[in-house]
Amino acid sequence: MNRGPLGPAKQRASRGGYGKPTIRSVTHRHFANVLVTLAIVLCAPSARAQACCAGASAITPGRLELHEKALIGSQLRVAGSLGTFNSQGRFRSNPPGASEVDFEQDLFASVRWLRRGQLSLLFPLLLSRRSSETTGTELGGGIGDLNLGLRYDLVRNRELSYLPGIGLLGGATFPTGRAPEDAKQPLASDATGTGATQLGLGLALERSFARWLLSATALLSKRFSREVNGVESELAPQLSAVIGASYTVSDEFAVALFTTYNYEADASIDGQRVSGTGRRQLRLSLACSAELDAFRLHGNAFLDPPVDGAGQNQTASVGAVIGVVWSFL
């Protein structure tokens, strides 16, 4: 169904919430598209290169636009390992015979609650191909960790002239995937989860300026302890920050550039802090989104810069994501 450049529901939304259905409305609509992309960029479990590296995901993909009540979507993510940052932040490329390529298929859905709230669910399916000199090549996968996300927009973008858009974020990740130590394959390619429950809280700010939208998001995630091979293991709380700028190119197309930085302090074993086990990761993402009738397409390319100091205890990856969202109701 072709609803035209501005479908009836969007026109109502534009009149009700944002005044003139002119370039400004169009801009807002495409900012929303970009934010869907941002949400997915944020939520794509960072460093899926290893399932245990799942980062904080307080938001689930598929942010609803103003006029929408529900959506479903899917995205495919492909990532290849460039190497690893060691405990001192030095980058090492993969040794001879070692490689890793990860595929992830996410299914997600979002529904609106009250007027300003959104509830989202993410269901990941993972497939990994890994190789080493001593074990050869293996392939494994399965269901990953289920993610539930909440968003409540206290202030929408441009709703108040003196405040940016303010959104409260909450999220939970449940260990529905297979923990690495339970994997059957030597390189744990069939490990699909962290093995721990995770809860997150966050704050998202956004403000548009003509065709530009600037956004900043901060997420703090608490990972609960779990028993690993007879000891109590717990990761430190993780702080994730995302700063992005997007530009609405045309009625149907927008591009965006985002930087994601994850930080966490040292982990602990049996209540004792273990030095040198903190983690850092810097990721650069170039994203775009497009609207095709009731569907939205999104894609992004990402890179963890493989330079000393850009990470710690983390795999560096390069990859891409492509997805589609169908909004209805």
């Binding site: 245990c52 460039l82 190497g83 690893t84 060691n86 405990s87 001192q88 030095r90 090492r92 490329s93 993969n94 040794p95 080493s132 000199e133 001593t134 074990t135 690495p180 130590e181 994997a183 030597p186 390189l187 744990a188 490990a191 962290t194 093995g195 721990a196 690993v228 091979n229 000891v231 293991s233 990761l235 045309s250 009625d251 149907e252 197309f253 591009v255 982990a267 074993i269 273990v274 040198g276 086990t277 903190g278 775009c288 497009a290 095709l292 397409l297 999104h298 992004n300 390319a301 890179l303 810069p305 493989p306 330079v307 000393d308 205890n313 560096a316 390069v318 990859g319 891409a320 492509i322």
Partner: protein, 138 residues
Amino acid sequence: MHVSRQVLGSLFATLALACSSSDAASGVNEVDLTSDSGALRVVVSSEPDTLPVRGLNQIYFDVRSSDSGQALDDLELSMTALMPSHSHGSPDVPPATALGGGRYRFDNVVLSMPGLWEFRTTVTGPLEDHVTPRFEVE
């Protein structure tokens, strides 16, 4: 819809792959250490490489008395391989096999990913102690 084609064409942006290089210098590798109580001096080595690698390994412990330097043969060693920074371990490692001359071998030690690993090792028998060598696996 008039820009759909260009939109679809733009979805696949070219990935910029930065050049990377390997630094041969090791990070915090420790192969010679003292047990928690200080009673044991332990030298850890591995096969197929001198340091543990991603994948399958055999880990050797050479255990001596810190005071006398005497090789200790009547010990029982059990190990748990952990990766604290990612909060996971490796599958269970069978107890070590005593080879004589204070030397012990753990077989089938699987390290599934690169990074900082700890071999949390418990010593039992005539004396009880703990030792935790750490290795950067590449």
